[in-house]
Assembly symmetry: C2
Homo-oligomer: 422 residues x 2
């Protein structure tokens, strides 16, 4: 089988070298040769010896090369990448891509073109790097009705929250973000990661393959971690929780929840043990129960591992539907106001009698009951109240919060963090 | 596609009901009907409505039924199960089995018959219940050279060790074993689980698919947990470790290590978080790095989930080699005396001057250096010494231990537990 690689950055060079180093072992697994017919890249990569490789500076040459059976798209972005992939498909080539944005935003169009052309599109590397989560859900758990998927699917945010949570750290988001940037774990413009957009792309794909619904990035609720304070980390810890940035897709009775946001997770849960830049996806399903998949979510090796798994799947033959379902069900995505969960609230109040009673009264009027409460010693006349609520409809919670914030004894906006109900 | 189920015990009934409840969703995934043609069982199962099912008391009738494309073997054991599977294969039927002993002991013969007959044998449920670990290694990590596999792959032993490790528990192995038996987590004769034979069956399979070597149960080193004492748990904890019963397959420079034994695992490792009857397999590989797969290792639902995944794989078409390799490499299994790792040692000594010096001298003569040491207050004239060693060849360690035990100041056998080096 003849492959063409487009893009020779971190992942592309990782794949090139993986194919070099593991060629014999891979061919022992697939029983046929894997030939690298061509590499399309803007510039050579210092880690790759391209002396015996057919290299072109025009990636579209790869898409049009009759000696390429499988085009591996590793250039990233959505515009040129989409044109490239569509061109390759129209030339009857299978596609392997690590491009989460491409699949999340244009997957429908790409899959439909591929189906017409009789080729397949593989994207294991698009979600959670080296963890074979797409395969595990589409195939390993295919006998189950999936109930929910909850994942730590962005290494940058997990690194920042982990560092903020180190014992005695008391570090601010901004402080740790700077460190993450210095270490290369966060981009100069970190918006894409810390505001949850990257995680939302991945969750879009996970939801589609878990529930057999269309890719629906635009309906996702997305909230980042930039508002999480050292106080939130500390109070959550006191209550027995850590704060993780989760992507959650959950089939509730009322519809499909699709949400990316900081979440309080009980400290003894497996997801709470996933630290640093590591990723993990937990899947709740009717027969297998809860299973979890853990590993590196990014980097040359892990991403190349998943790209290579896709190449091997194609070489071994067999084809399954792009999202794992022959027909997709209507989405029916629940608006975030309609979800039900427990909430963590933190607010500053004037240190005077009756304030707690006022807050309690407002909450109770909105059917919010209190599960746990911390009131911290006043400093400079102010006190902080932290509340853990029982499960309640989010719209009720938001109404209660807006009423609380308008109370004159309340001196801050209310920090609200959802609590995991999985 | 028409399936026949042989065996309607816990897993069989779980599969029967899973097919009933998820039929529509499964057919949406495979694009064709899954028809249950026949069930072969000694007796009906109270949880299954068999009123519209073709039931036979003769399982071989299923193996000979021309209306069955896939025989699902869930009767367990190795003798009749092997005859049944071989008969079905000779009749051109694909096989799905949850039978770890059958694959570990007779897999070679079964696979070879299947290859000749042009059918395939699937066994996802044979290892780690509901966790799709066979698929993850054979396909998801196929681009990697696997370096090691380490798994908590027996729920009974993990339950017992978890209970013994509860804070302040101080319970003995025998005490917790009785509880496990009362809860149905351990058999009346618990040998198979607590002495590691079940885990060794599973590790045999994991090693074959990870390294592409023949199934080689007889070469496995197997040690159970019955010698682990409350003191061991307590001292390990003091040193920063917990004790887990691991199956480890590891490619070292000298050969393939295949070993099942209690192991000290650092408390902050992911495998240390796997408690109760849960299972997890961690895989170390050259590109993806360390990935872990976690879930329920037994039970009707989880096992049926993996059986169903195999059925779905067959229905979707495509076939890969039984162990994931078109040709198997020679095994080259390392004798346990030739592995290198760190060791935990616990021994009773007479409480008198010079004993520790004697022990240290013996260790140093065998090139064993001490990494950490605990000496506990004497009680009734005896003291306990606990030693954590640096990495050393096991044969050296064993020689040192035998010399230590012959020292007259040493009042007990030496408890030796290997320390994880992964």
């Amino acid at each position: 089988m003849r492959i063409g690689i487009c893009g020779l950055g971190t992942v592309g060079s990782g794949l090139f070298n993986l194919l070099e180093s593991n060629r014999a072992e891979i061919e022992r697994k697939v029983g046929r040769d894997i030939i690298l017919s061509q590499v399309g890249c803007r510039r050579d990569h210092p880690d790759c010896d391209l002396s015996s490789t057919n290299v072109t500076r025009d990636i579209f040459e790869v898409a049009n090369n009759p000696d390429v059976d499988v085009l591996v798209e590793l250039i990233g972005g959505t515009d040129v990448a989409k044109d490239l992939v569509m061109q390759a498909i129209s030339n009857g080539k299978h596609i392997v891509t690590a491009n989460k944005a491409l699949i999340a935003l244009h997957g429908d169009e790409v899959f439909s073109a591929a189906e017409q052309a009789g080729v397949s599109v593989h994207y294991e590397a698009a979600v959670a790097g080296g963890i074979p989560i797409v395969k595990s859900i589409r195939e390993g758990l295919a006998g189950n009705t999936i109930e929910w998927v909850a994942g730590i699917i962005n290494g940058t945010t997990n690194f920042i929250l982990t560092e903020m949570s180190r014992e005695g750290s008391n570090r601010s988001f901004d402080d740790v973000l700077s460190e993450a940037q210095a270490l290369g774990y966060a981009e100069a413009d970190p918006t894409f990661d810390v505001e949850g957009i990257d995680a939302a792309h991945k969750l879009t794909i996970l939801a589609a393959i878990a529930f057999g619904v269309p890719l629906n990035f635009s309906a996702m609720y997305t909230e980042g971690i930039s508002a999480i304070s050292a106080d939130d980390i500390k109070f959550a810890d006191e209550l027995g929780y850590c704060i993780k940035h989760l992507g959650i897709a959950r089939q509730s009775g009322d519809g499909l929840e699709l949400r990316v946001h900081p979440t309080l997770v009980e400290k003894d849960q497996m997801l709470a043990q996933v630290n640093g830049v590591m990723n993990a996806v937990m899947v709740g399903s009717d027969a297998a129960g809860s299973t979890m998949y853990y590993g590196a979510g990014a980097g040359a090796g892990p991403t190349a591992s998943s790209v290579m798994a896709d190449i091997i799947d194609i070489a071994r033959g067999g084809k399954l539907p792009d999202l794992g379902f022959v027909s997709l069900a209507p989405t029916g995505i629940l608006a975030i106001e309609k979800i039900r969960c427990s909430y963590y609230l933190r607010l500053g109040v004037v240190d005077q009698a009756g304030v707690m009673a006022n807050v309690s009264t407002i909450l109770s009027r909105h059917r919010v009951s209190i599960e746990a409460l911390i009131q911290k010693d006043a400093r400079r006349g102010d006190a902080q109240i932290v509340i853990l609520t029982d499960e309640v409809l989010e719209s009720e919670m938001l109404d209660a919060i807006s009423e609380i914030e308008s109370n004159e004894a309340v001196t801050s906006k209310v920090s609200m963090i959802r609590v995991s109900n999985l």
